[in-house]
C-alpha cells in the first residue's frame, strides 16, 4: 500500500494545479513566472480557474479580515490533497501592515500554510523555488497541511471566528440591494 501511496504522491508532485488568490501587489510577480521567462508549466504547474480544480492555493500579499473570509471559504471549497503557499511577508507577519487594525498578521493561524515565501516582493525565482520545495515535500509525503486543518479544526475555527466576528455582513441592508438586482 505504501508503494501505491508513493506512486500517487510522485504524480501529485509532478502535477500541481494552482489557484492564485491575489489581493494586491503580489500578483504582478506571477505573469513572469508563468510565461516564457520562467515558465512554471515545465514543473507541471498550471493556473486554474476554480478551487474545485486546484491543488495549490497561492495567497499573495496582505489579507484584510474580509478577504480572509473569502480565502477560508475558497480553501474549504478545495478538495484534498491541497496545499497553501503563503507569498510575501504580509502572509507571514503582516509585513508593512503589521499594525493595521484590519489586516491579519499570521496566515497560518487561520489556515495551514505549507510553505511561506518570504520577501516583499519575492522574485519569480523564489516562487519557483517554493514550487520545487513543495514538490519534494509532496513526493516525500511531508506536505500534510490539509490533514492538520482537519485534525485541528477547532483551533483554526476559533482563531477564524475571533477575527471574523469583527466583520460585518457585506451588505447591511441586503433586501434593498437584491431587490435592485
Amino acid at each position: 500500500m505504501s508503494e501505491w501511496t508513493e506512486i500517487v504522491d510522485y504524480f501529485r508532485g509532478r502535477s500541481m494545479w494552482m489557484l492564485h488568490y491575489c489581493t494586491g501587489c503580489g500578483a504582478i510577480e506571477l505573469p513572469p513566472t508563468m510565461t516564457s521567462r520562467w515558465d512554471m508549466e515545465r514543473f507541471g504547474i498550471t493556473p486554474m480557474a476554480t478551487p474545485r480544480q486546484a491543488d495549490i492555493l497561492l495567497i499573495t500579499g496582505y489579507l484584510a479580515i474580509k478577504t480572509l473570509k473569502r480565502v477560508i471559504y475558497t480553501y474549504e471549497q478545495m478538495q484534498p490533497p491541497k496545499w497553501v503557499l503563503g507569498f510575501g511577508s504580509c502572509t507571514i507577519n503582516g509585513g508593512i501592515y503589521w499594525d493595521s487594525y484590519n489586516v491579519i498578521e499570521r496566515l497560518d493561524k487561520y489556515i495551514p500554510v505549507d510553505i511561506y515565501i518570504a520577501g516583499c516582493m519575492p522574485r519569480p525565482e523564489a516562487i519557483l523555488d517554493s514550487f520545487v520545495k513543495l514538490k519534494e515535500m509532496v513526493q516525500n509525503g511531508e506536505a500534510k497541511g490539509y490533514e492538520k486543518y482537519v485534525k485541528n479544526y477547532e483551533w483554526y475555527k476559533a482563531n477564524q471566528d475571533k477575527v471574523l466576528k469583527r466583520t460585518k455582513p457585506v451588505l447591511e441592508r441586503i433586501e434593498k440591494v437584491t431587490k435592485i438586482g
Binding site: 501529485r12 502535477s15 514543473f43 490533497p81
Partner: protein, 307 residues
C-alpha cells in the same frame, strides 16, 4: 462460443480504448509542448497529461448528487463506445456497424451526458459555458453535415470501412484529392469540435471560470479529460478515415491524425478567441460555403442514384 467471441471483442475493445486514450493524452501533451515552444517556453514534459490524469483520478472531489455523477460518467462513456466503431488503421472492431452518422450521434450522447452532469452542478458559469458549447455546435455541425453527406453521396456508402476501402491504392485516390474543399471545411470544423482557439468560448477560463468544468474536480475533471482525449482521437480518426484514406497500419494512422491535429494546434497558438455568435456565424459562412460548394460539385459529378 458466443462468450469467447464476446470476451475477445471485450479485450480488443479495452485495447482500443486504452490506445485511443493514450494517444489522445499523448497528443495533448505534445500539443502543450508545441505551444510552449511557439511561446518560447520550455514547456511541460509530453507525458504531463498522463500525470495530470492520474493525479485527477486520485484526488478528492465534490459531487452535486447522482445526476452529476451519472452525467459525467455518461459524458465520456459514449465516446469510448463510439470509438469501437471507428476503423483504426486496418482494424475495426465492428466492421458491419461502422456507420458514420451513428458514430456522430453517439458522440452527441457524450455531449448530452456531459451537459447533464455539469448543469446538474447548478453553477451559472457551467450553464453559460454549456450554452456557448451548444451554440458553437450548432455552428460547426452544419458544414460538417454538408461534407459528410457529400461523402455519403460520393462514395455511395455510409460505412467508414467501405469509405476507407474506396480510397485504397495510392494518394490520388484519397478523398482529400477528390474533395479538397470538403477537407478544408472539415479541418476548420475540427478546430471548433476540439474547442481550440479561436473557438474556445465554452471553456474561457478567465471569463467564465472554465465554463462547464467550473465545479469539476478530481475524478470528474479526469473524466472530462478522458472525454477530450478520446474525442480528439475519434474526431481526427474520422477525418483520417474520410479524407486521408485510412491507414495500412496503426502507426501511420496515428501519424496522419497527428498531422491534422498539428494544424489545429498551430492555429490555436496564434489566434485569439472569437465571441460566440461570431464563431457560430463564421461556421455558417466560410466552412458552410465550402461544404455546400463541395456538395454541388459532388452532385454534378455523381448524378443521381438509382433507387
Amino acid at each position: 462460443m458466443v462468450i469467447v467471441e464476446f470476451l475477445i471483442k471485450l479485450s480488443q475493445g479495452f485495447g482500443i480504448g486504452a490506445l485511443a486514450l493514450a494517444t489522445g493524452l499523448l497528443f495533448g501533451g505534445i500539443a502543450r509542448k508545441i505551444m510552449a515552444r511557439i511561446q518560447r517556453r520550455y514547456g511541460p514534459p509530453f507525458t504531463q497529461n498522463f500525470m495530470d490524469l492520474f493525479k485527477l483520478l486520485s484526488k478528492g472531489s465534490v459531487s452535486h448528487g447522482w445526476a452529476f455523477d451519472l452525467g459525467l460518467v455518461a459524458g465520456f462513456v459514449p465516446m469510448l463506445a463510439a470509438l469501437m466503431f471507428l476503423p483504426i488503421g486496418p482494424f475495426t472492431l465492428f466492421p458491419s456497424d461502422s456507420s458514420l452518422i451513428m458514430i456522430v450521434y453517439l458522440m452527441m450522447m457524450a455531449y448530452l451526458g456531459m451537459a447533464m452532469g455539469v448543469l446538474a452542478s447548478g453553477n451559472p458559469n457551467s450553464a453559460i459555458g454549456m450554452s456557448r458549447a451548444l451554440m458553437l455546435m450548432a455552428g460547426y455541425e452544419v458544414p460538417f453535415a454538408a461534407v459528410i453527406f457529400s461523402i455519403y453521396f460520393f462514395s455511395k456508402t455510409g460505412y467508414l470501412t467501405q469509405i476507407v476501402a474506396m480510397q485504397s491504392g495510392g494518394f490520388m485516390n484519397w478523398n482529400i484529392v477528390k474533395m479538397p474543399l470538403g477537407f478544408l471545411a472539415v479541418e476548420i470544423v475540427l478546430q471548433g469540435m476540439l474547442g481550440e482557439k479561436p473557438f474556445d468560448q465554452a471553456i474561457a477560463p478567465a471569463e467564465i471560470a472554465s465554463g462547464p468544468m467550473v465545479e469539476l474536480g478530481g475524478k470528474y475533471l479526469g473524466f472530462g479529460m478522458i472525454q477530450h482525449s478520446v474525442a480528439l482521437f475519434l474526431e481526427t480518426g474520422i477525418i483520417v478515415d474520410l479524407f486521408l484514406g485510412g491507414a495500412p497500419n496503426f502507426w501511420i494512422f496515428i501519424a496522419k491524425q497527428f498531422v491534422l491535429y498539428f494544424v489545429v494546434v498551430l492555429v490555436d497558438a496564434i489566434l485569439p478567441r472569437l465571441r460566440v455568435h461570431e464563431a457560430t456565424s463564421f461556421f455558417w459562412k466560410l466552412p458552410l460555403f465550402l461544404g455546400i460548394l463541395q456538395a454541388v460539385i459532388v452532385i454534378i459529378q455523381g448524378g443521381v442514384l438509382n433507387v
